[in-house]
């Protein structure tokens, strides 16, 4: 952690990379983690929680082993993201924001991922996948 904070002129500026590192390690950001980070960086814990609640990449609940973030903004919407979203709902039997009972998949709709040339696009955990079609979704679900 100190390797991260040492790069910044002010300790508090390391908050986002520290939270990312924590989340990568533990899978989510727990209240205990918030308090630890607050103490480590010298920030009031309420402001750490503000940051965790503000940014969409930080989450306080466990996600599925494979978390699908499907883009719903204009370019992807024009290339069929709504169909993809409905298809995923159908195949996995969950709505955006939910997790499958076996914990394998969770999915959410997000805004532009910066990969419009591959529309419709989603992230599967950290990897970009696109252009998507029903066949690719089937493969992904089978493969997990």
């Amino acid at each position: 952690m100190d390797k991260i904070t040492n790069k910044y002129e002010r300790r508090g500026a390391a908050l986002l990379p520290v939270l990312h590192a924590l989340q990568d390690k533990e899978g989510l950001i727990s209240p205990e983690a918030e308090k630890d980070v607050a103490e480590y960086l010298g920030i009031p814990v309420v402001h750490v929680h503000e940051v965790v609640s503000f940014y969409h990449l930080f989450h306080q609940e466990k996600l599925g082993k494979c978390h699908l973030s499907v883009c719903q903004t204009t370019a992807c919407a024009l290339r069929g993201s709504e169909d993809i979203i409905r298809y995923i709902e159908q195949k996995l039997n969950i709505k955006p924001g939910e997790i499958t009972p076996d914990g394998k998949f969770s999915f959410d709709v997000v805004e532009c991922l910066g990969a419009c040339e591959m529309a419709p696009v989603m992230r599967c955990n950290k990897d970009y996948k696109g252009p998507l079609d029903k066949k690719k979704i089937d493969e992904l679900i089978k493969g997990a």
């Binding site: 908050l15 990312h20 503000f54 204009t74 024009l78 990969a115 970009y128």
Partner: protein, 414 residues
């Protein structure tokens, strides 16, 4: 047309230092640091007519000139790699396929503004970009192009890659600073401007990835060369991102003076299934939508402003005749409602309200007075907010309502 910023795209191992060096890499940086003065560098960039390619189109050299050199505080360079504007994906290509071009530009820029620390704020989803960029930084360090006393001079420089965490508003320069300092992406009241009070209350230049990637070539081949490549006040080429209902979505480096029609039909392969074009967003979702009869506009900042839209981030999203424009407005309104930071009243409440109004109309639950009230509500947001996000809501969503009113009316009568 000679490619400048995208000259290495698609080449094998283009991101490696040895590849970059084979093609005259870091020659410009060495030239600037050993043969020029910071003031001369700024002057060169001014004369090149390079303008901010993140969206605002502000003259880059002028921005650098705002840094008060007499100010005792350290100066910072912040690279805006948040790339959140829907329709835009060019900076990703630069970071993943030509990171050293960015680094070389950073070195020259830092030298020009007397900064010894550069932060590259990359949107949190661009894991691959950050990894490749960090590797490039490590390579450059090992060769002495970054670190202490680079190129045999006594100029020190460090570059830090900093991740965002999923908030479009962090592309706004002062929200980016708030985020970089460890807070929520809340834009700040201006003045003071970042050039005077920026990162850690110190003078800061914030520039887009592509803008800085142009700096090396400009220093290498001269401002005049770059300036004459573009249109009158808009020098150089630009990376246009084309997406939507086109056959060949992708990044295209083209001159600034090219028309929208040429980009769509001669480079991006025209419309899918040879359909007719109905509408096109010329510069990211914040740009007012254009109709099919406006395709002959030149794609530079001034020409697009003149027809009531904006060149913005260069993100072109094409919509064909099958597109329901009320639905398109809904998608745009939903984007703004979800990405509003929530700090100021008009945008926070207005963006959500506008989205719900349009949703109601789209789902057939709207009445005529809902549609008649909509322009007034939309217009109350822009101009009254802390940052330009509010203006974007007004301009963007407003353009669908005004240019495709008949489609809205159809949903009400039908």
């Amino acid at each position: 047309m000679e490619k400048i910023v995208s000259r290495h795209f698609g080449q094998e191992n283009s991101h490696r230092l040895e590849h970059y060096l084979k093609d005259g890499g870091y020659v410009s940086a060495r030239k600037a640091l050993t043969q020029m003065t910071p003031a001369a560098v700024i002057e060169e960039i001014k004369r090149s007519n390079l303008r901010g390619l993140g969206g605002a189109g502000f003259p880059t050299g002028t921005k650098w000139g705002f840094i008060p050199q007499g100010n005792p505080k350290p100066k910072y360079l912040v690279i805006n790699a948040d790339e959140g504007e829907p329709g835009t994906f060019k900076d990703k290509y630069i970071m993943e396929q030509d990171p050293h071009a960015l680094l070389e530009g950073i070195i020259i820029t830092c030298f020009a503004i007397n900064s010894h620390k550069a932060y590259v704020y990359v949107r949190g989803e661009y894991i691959k970009s950050m990894k490749i960029l960090q590797e490039a930084i490590d390579e450059a360090h090992s060769k002495g192009y970054l670190g202490k006393g680079i190129f045999g001079t006594n100029f020190d420089i460090e570059v830090v890659v900093h991740p965002g965490a999923g908030a479009y508003i962090c592309g706004e320069e002062t929200a980016l600073l708030s985020s970089l300092e460890g807070g929520k992406g809340f834009p700040r009241l201006k003045p003071p401007f970042p050039a005077v009070v920026g990162l850690f209350e110190s003078p800061t230049v914030i520039n887009n990835v592509e803008t800085i990637a142009c700096v090396g070539p400009i220093i290498n081949r001269g401002a005049a060369w770059f300036a004459q490549l573009g249109s009158e006040k808009n020098g150089g080429n630009r990376l246009f991102c084309v997406s939507g209902h086109v056959n060949k979505p992708g990044v295209y480096e083209l001159p600034n003076g090219i028309t929208l029609r040429e980009i769509i039909y001669e480079h991006a392969g025209g419309i899918l299934q040879a359909r007719k074009l109905k509408a096109v967003i010329p510069g990211g979702i914040s740009a007012p939508v254009l109709t099919a009869d406006q395709l002959d506009v030149k794609m530079d900042f001034d020409s697009l402003k003149a027809i009531g839209s904006m060149a913005g981030s260069g993100g072109i999203i094409v919509m064909d005749e099958t597109t329901d424009m009320v639905w398109a407005a809904l998608v745009a309104a939903r984007f703004f409602a979800l990405e509003s930071c929530g700090q100021c009243s008009p945008c926070r409440e207005g963006s959500g309200w506008v989205y719900r109004q349009i949703k109601r109309i789209y789902e057939g639950q709207g009445r005529l007075h809902d549609l008649n009230n909509l322009p007034g509500i939309v217009n109350n947001i822009g101009g009254n907010t802390i940052c330009a996000f509010g203006d974007a809501v007004t301009m963007s969503v407003g353009s669908y309502v005004s240019k495709f009113r008949s489609e809205f009316e159809a949903k009400i009568k039908g």
